[in-house]
Symmetry: C2
Subunit: 234 residues, 2 copies
Amino acid sequence: MSRLDRSLISGLPVFEGLQADDLDRMLQSARSLRIEKETPIFEQGGEAHSFFVLLDGRARVVKSTADGQQVIVRYIVPGELMGIAQALGRTTYPASAIAVLDCVVLAWPGRLWPEFATAYPTFGMNTYKTVGARLNDVQTQVVEMATEQVERRVAHSLLRLIKQSGRKTEAGILIDFPITRQDIAEMTGTTLHTVSRLLTAWEEKGLVRSGRQQVTIKEPHRLLLLAEGRSRQD
Amino acid sequence: MSRLDRSLISGLPVFEGLQADDLDRMLQSARSLRIEKETPIFEQGGEAHSFFVLLDGRARVVKSTADGQQVIVRYIVPGELMGIAQALGRTTYPASAIAVLDCVVLAWPGRLWPEFATAYPTFGMNTYKTVGARLNDVQTQVVEMATEQVERRVAHSLLRLIKQSGRKTEAGILIDFPITRQDIAEMTGTTLHTVSRLLTAWEEKGLVRSGRQQVTIKEPHRLLLLAEGRSRQD
DNA sequence: CACCGACTTTGATAAATCGCAAATGAAACC
DNA sequence: GGTTTCATTTGCGATTTATCAAAGTCGGTG
């Protein structure tokens, strides 16, 4: 098995504060995996055999209902943890993760989690910070879904996406991975039809530019006003 | 300062697996507080000076938006942790907690959290399990809000409430604390009017019995069918 | 290069739910 | 006991958004 170089992870926030030899030791029990676009990385309800760090690509975390509807819980970008069921005292994954692009991940056997958390307390702390941030994110999302109507929810979602995955282009800030109207609908609890209508309307106002599987925000500031409900309707 | 007896917490799930003397030591740094009905226990955005265990009463955790709307994130019942911002690497509370009834809580200084987590690893693990369960709950709620319409959401909420806080009576299972139509609306992202109409309709079908600030589920099973969308409409 | 499939747009209609207003009811407070 | 306050109910019109249906568009593939 080829050695994994420490530089793969040394810059990542989760591994911040760890010694070089700690990183090396952690990498000894990691496997590096390549996952093809649109392939599952782990599956909801499945036994949580591993936890992961995404090194390259993008993943979407999806939670499905008994009757087959699904909701995109979040997108994962390189450097982020995913599938950390063990850290939460779970033995199965509460959601699925699917590669949106070809991905490279590091995977550790789930049973190592407790050892890691005690042997590298900084890593444990950092992980719990991540969990805390996510709990907060999800709660914010609940508040949004409870209090805002669709237009503002979609606006907020797009703003979060460009914050997390935005790439600056001449035309504005591009969401840097393929995303369909359907995906946006699944993030915001609406239908692809409504998302399509919103994007068309926004395009006419010059806020965004969108095409097949891509969205560029031309005027983030104005979109934010709209998201916050502070824009007089014109 | 009066000694707190170990029996206060020894039976609680969070403290499970701890030695008697560990409990005693933990209690040495705890204060016991009495909080009057409808008084805040901690406030959103405030510095997270303490974390708490609810010993008696009920608390609701509320998250407010910039424009003053609020959402009830969850109810806390005796034995549960709350305000554990430190465990999530936060320095401020992400939500407020308000006593629904007169409450008794134990409070520990927030700065003790890291010491506790290392000195009593079982306690740490149990706490993270709690966090994991809550993360899962909130995500489930997002999925519900994204995929279900109001009637099913309200049904699910009531079912969760009786699971957590139900008291069996002759008439059925009573939600064991005062709860208004407005409260239920804030849990489910709807209006008190819609909740009122739903409860009236359900009452006519014999599913529930409700009055001022109280709800009794007469037929949990049928309500579940409705919540799951498996009931033919009659 | 034509075809296929996936994604997107758009219109028309229907349904769900909100917002407003007003009336009623029940508990709490002098 | 009377009054006040808060919670609840109910009707109705207005809006939002879903649903259904159909057509258009783009990109890739054989």
